[in-house]
């Protein structure tokens, strides 16, 4: 019961703020550390420095290496088709890979992947899985799992504005319009699908960069260019000058125009991992780093620290670049480039001050090197949220990935913490008074880059079509586009191929 009395409150609110002023608080100490570090294990794999002499041997018809989304979805498919004689070997203590999540006293939160767009109405693997998980009710996406409003905002010219497209001059607006018309044409063309598949139509768009395509088409609005560059960094971890135009366009043209979503959860795609684990968890062995896979008579011997698995077939759902380090005579995947990323989870004891539209789910700072932050408590049903966890994303997109990986490892926690707080201070001057903890995850090979030419390359074909010795690759990096649906598609495809062989 409450008719608004707008004049009175504004006057009153002003009075208390201006009269008493805001009490001065000093910046507080922020705790935290690097978490879930895996580059040491990675380097030991690279240097073949694991001295594994497993005491036991176990016979199992099929081994899945890697318990990310691809590996778990391969397992999901196998179970749905009634096959149970397999294990999933996961290096980390918990499955999930890039869809891992964490939890503290305030909220669960993602470590990397945090959303999936609502799959279109046509039949698709994602739709099939999501129907099974109850994400659709009577064919409609379930409201509780869709991203709540407000979904996105952009910090531009000193205040937060609604949506991610920077509002500009009539010229900018005109170019947006033209750009979105072009994307609608591409959408109608049907060449850009999810999953993207292995032989692309309009492959010529893979031979120039997104940036060059924009320039070629006369899109010179700096706002539009920023927006496209942001999109490439957000989805692929590389700038629009490095991403192929095909991939850059795919981001816009492969999605439904009027997406009511996306689907998202406090723990990000960890929600999906949990549901998958409810279905296939009994097959998953965690803490099981595969350090060698060798062909022995017509079998595979998959070596982990404690157990050597002897199998007829292998689905390799760990990142493809690792294969040559684990498997003798496996050629190194040429042209597979990976973007380094930093993600951080910030614990906020109160929400900072800010100007403009209210806190959204995805919050982006214009012209920042980072990608902004996603609010883990956004999907809470509570009407009062006083503390929160923000997941902050930073793709090290500029320059050579290898050089940036070295930067990534060279800078200590304190440097990263300061860089993150400095970045956020632009939009939230008092952020340092609000944050009590910053945990930082460094991902050297976070995701595959769809660099110019990669999607149409022979190098990629070699691994997507790999079929020798009952061994299939399945990591999402085969797609060159690092999203949930690609990981699922790769896992399911490999599972189907494996079943076709094993049941023969």
């Amino acid at each position: 019961m409450e008719p608004d009395r707008p004049l009175v409150p504004s006057r009153r609110r002003f009075l208390s703020a201006a009269l008493v002023g805001l009490s001065q608080k000093s910046g507080r100490a922020v705790t935290g550390s690097f978490v879930l570090e895996s580059h040491e294990a990675g380097h030991r794999l690279r240097d073949r420095a694991f001295a594994a002499m497993p005491a036991r041997e176990q016979r199992v018809p099929l081994v899945i290496v890697g318990g990310g989304i691809a590996g778990l979805c391969a397992a999901w498919r196998l179970r749905r088709r009634g096959f149970r004689d397999f294990v999933v070997l996961e290096m980390e203590d918990r499955a999930g890979g890039n869809a891992r999540w964490g939890e503290n006293e305030i909220s669960q939160y993602p470590w990397a992947a945090h959303y999936v767009p609502v799959p279109g109405p046509g039949p698709s693997l994602a739709r099939e899985l999501f129907e099974e998980l109850g994400l659709f009710e009577d064919g409609e996406p379930s409201e509780r799992h869709l991203c709540f409003s407000p979904q996105e905002r952009l910090f531009l010219q000193g205040r937060w504005q609604e949506g991610l497209e920077p509002a500009g001059t009539p010229k900018d607006i005109d170019q947006y319009k033209r750009f979105s018309d072009r994307m609608a044409d591409f959408r109608a063309n049907g060449a850009f699908r999810i999953p993207a598949g292995d032989s692309l139509r309009l492959g010529e768009l893979d031979r120039l960069s997104m940036r060059d395509w924009l320039l070629r088409e006369g899109f010179d609005s700096s706002y539009l260019q920023w927006y496209c560059d942001y999109s490439c960094r957000d989805d692929y971890g590389c700038s629009s000058a490095d991403a192929s135009a095909w991939a850059g366009i795919h981001y816009f043209a492969a999605r439904e125009d009027h997406d009511p979503g996306p689907f998202t959860w406090p723990e990000g795609n960890g929600w999906l991992v949990k549901r998958l684990l409810e279905r296939v968890g009994t097959h998953v062995r965690t803490g099981a780093t595969v350090c060698q896979a060798a062909r022995e008579k017509n079998r595979w011997r998959i070596v982990t620290k404690e157990i050597a698995y002897v199998s007829d077939a292998v689905i390799f759902a760990a990142p493809t670049f690792l294969a040559p380090f684990l498997i003798e005579d496996m050629p190194a995947p040429q042209a597979f480039e990976y973007s380094p990323w930093v993600t951080a989870n910030l614990t906020l004891d109160r929400l900072p001050r800010e100007r403009g539209v209210p806190l959204a789910w995805d919050n982006v700072i214009f012209n920042s090197p980072s990608l902004g932050y996603v609010v883990a408590t956004h999907q809470s049903l509570a009407s009062r949220i006083e503390r929160s966890v923000w997941t902050y994303y930073w793709a090290l997109a500029d320059g050579e990935p290898a050089a940036r990986r070295r930067d990534l490892l060279a800078s200590g926690w304190n440097r990263w913490k300061e860089a993150i707080l400095d970045d956020l201070t632009r939009a939230h001057p008092d952020i340092r008074e609000c944050v009590s903890r910053i945990d930082i995850l460094r991902l050297g090979h976070a995701m595959i880059r769809p660099s110019v030419g990669f999607l149409t390359s022979q190098a990629r074909r070699k691994f997507t079509a790999y079929e020798a010795d009952n061994f299939w690759f399945a990591n999402s990096d085969l797609s060159g586009i690092s999203i949930f649906e690609e990981a699922q598609y790769r896992g399911v495809t490999a599972a189907d191929r494996a079943l076709a062989r094993i049941s023969k």
């Binding site: 019961m1 409450e2 008719p3 608004d4 009395r5 707008p6 004049l7 009175v8 409150p9 006057r11 009153r12 609110r13 002003f14 009075l15 208390s16 703020a17 201006a18 009269l19 008493v20 002023g21 805001l22 001065q24 409201e143 509780r144 869709l146 991203c147 709540f148 409003s149 407000p150 979904q151 009511p260 979503g261 209210p358 809470s380 049903l381 509570a382 009407s383 009062r384 949220i385």
Partner: protein, 498 residues
């Protein structure tokens, strides 16, 4: 010595500019149109300084004593300027008059300062050096003040304390001038006492600045404030004028004791009187216990569960004698269970069923409150309804916020419930709307509890009739992922406010 002298020039220049900035900023905050306010304040101030400079020629002997007195006066008046202006805005009609009078007065005094000081110093320095130095420090002081004001003073101290702080600096300059120029003053003791008194007054102002908020605020509510409390969730203010008790939450009127019975009878009885078999009732929001009071009129009700976010609110309405008299001690009834929780999460974690639910949330003024008016919320609520239950939802004004009202109706329908909208007139609010929702068609009851003050069985069905200017409009249901209601609501009420 020379340093102290020029430092004093620096300080008084800074003080002078701060008073001007405060007057300008306050005027633009409180009156709007910042360009107009700033130009007229600055213009008046500069003109007054000119008057001051001109008047300085009439001061003959006792230069230093005059200078000290003027400094102390500037400190006092300038220091209290923003407090005076705030109170004037809250209590009087003559804010503008006071504003320009104060600006003129301070301007004249400040205009006197520099000419007097130059004359005091003229025997100590070469004239060309003196002019150069004094003016240099004068302008430096202005620079310092203009940088400090927006960056540090306003955000950190607020207007009242900033003015007081600079008043103190001004008075301090006066005070130490009685030492620096002691040979040029007849009897410094008297002047020192004056300075100390001014300093003490300003210091006291500094300490009491917080209380001033309350003082100014009280007057923004038309009536006497008899209780005001900041809880973790909201600011609760209770006012009284004669026999009219009013509750404000975050400055939004919640009820007036003169006509709240209309609202609460309308919220509860059309639904509950139609459910003779109801035993268990849920109230969401409504921590004032007034809806519960109406519910307890039905002897067959065995259990009322009240879920309200703020424990201090329900505590207040269980203990304060004035308030318990108003709600008939409803929250103390053994049938009533009070739960302090956020309603949406509470419902999703709880499996209880109810025969009637009264939903009395604040209006959807923001996205957080908007969640409580979504299809997702009503779907969840529907899972807590026993077979024949009804829900009554307060749904803002169908007259002032017509689109918002019909959006709530549409949302309830979107959640798969039948919706029966109705409205009543509550003088302190205006035309107010409710929606009765349930799985079944609704027939108004033939019987109502006795001794109601507003509703009769005969006029009940009229409530469901909407005149032309409140009839349905085309709207979308409100969903968590678009929150269209908050946008409708914002638009409609901002039009009313204008």
């Amino acid at each position: 010595m020379t340093f102290i002298l020029f430092f004093s020039v620096f300080l008084i220049a800074a003080c002078g500019l701060i008073y001007e900035l405060i007057a300008g900023a306050l005027a633009s905050y409180l009156l709007g149109d910042s360009i107009l306010q700033f130009s007229t304040v600055i213009g008046t101030y500069l003109f007054a300084m000119g008057i001051g400079s001109y008047l300085s020629r009439f001061i003959g002997r006792g230069l230093v004593a005059r200078f000290v007195t003027i400094e102390a006066m500037v400190g006092l008046i300038g220091g209290f300027s923003s407090s005076i202006l705030f109170l004037a805005f809250a209590y009087t009609e003559s804010f503008r008059f006071l504003l320009y009078s104060l600006v003129t007065l301070i301007g004249i005094l400040v205009g006197l300062e520099i000419p007097l000081l130059m004359r005091i110093l003229k025997d100590r320095f070469q004239f060309h050096d003196l002019v150069a130095h004094v003016l240099t420090f004068d302008y430096l002081g202005a620079l310092g003040a203009s940088i400090l004001f927006p960056l540090l003073l306003v955000p950190r101290l607020g207007m009242v304390r900033s003015a007081l702080l600079f008043g103190i600096l001004n008075a301090a300059v006066a005070f130490w001038s009685t030492f620096i120029f002691r040979h040029q003053i007849g009897s410094p003791a008297g002047l020192r006492v004056i300075c100390l008194m001014v300093l003490a007054a300003l210091g006291a102002g500094m300490v009491g600045a917080d209380r001033l908020t309350g003082l100014a605020e009280e007057n923004l509510y038309a009536d006497e404030v008899i209780l005001s409390r900041n809880t973790r969730y909201q600011r609760i203010v209770l006012t009284r004028w004669k026999d009219d008790l009013r509750l404000f939450l975050n400055s939004h009127l919640q009820f007036s004791s003169r006509d709240e019975y209309r609202y609460h009878e309308a919220l509860v009885h059309p639904g509950l009187a139609a459910l003779p078999h109801a035993r268990s009732v849920l109230v969401l929001g409504g921590g004032d216990g007034l809806a519960v009071r109406e519910i307890l009129r039905y002897p067959q009700i065995e259990r009322v569960t009240l879920v309200d976010l703020d424990p201090e609110m329900t505590q207040l309405f269980s203990t304060n004698p004035m308030l318990t008299e108003l709600n008939g001690r409803s929250l103390l009834s053994p049938k009533v269970r009070v739960i302090n929780a956020d309603a949406f999460p509470w419902l999703s974690e709880n499996g209880e069923m109810f025969d009637f639910v009264a939903v009395d949330f604040p209006d959807p003024t923001n996205f957080s409150l908007g969640k409580l008016y979504t299809t997702a919320f009503y779907r969840l609520l529907a899972k807590h309804l026993s077979a024949s239950a009804y829900v009554a939802v307060q749904s803002t004004s169908p007259l002032f916020a017509r689109t918002s009202f019909w959006c709530i109706v549409e949302t309830i329908r979107g959640a798969g419930l039948k919706a029966h909208p109705y409205h009543v007139y509550v003088p302190s609010f205006g035309e107010w709307g409710f929606v009765l929702a349930g799985a079944f068609p609704y027939e108004p009851p033939a019987l109502l509890p006795e001794d109601l003050r507003f509703l009769t069985p005969a006029n009940l069905s009229n409530l469901f009739d909407f005149p032309r200017d409140m009839q349905p409009v085309d709207v979308q249901p409100n969903r968590l992922n678009d929150q269209i209601l908050v946008r409708y609501y914002e638009k409609e009420w901002s039009q009313i406010a204008r």
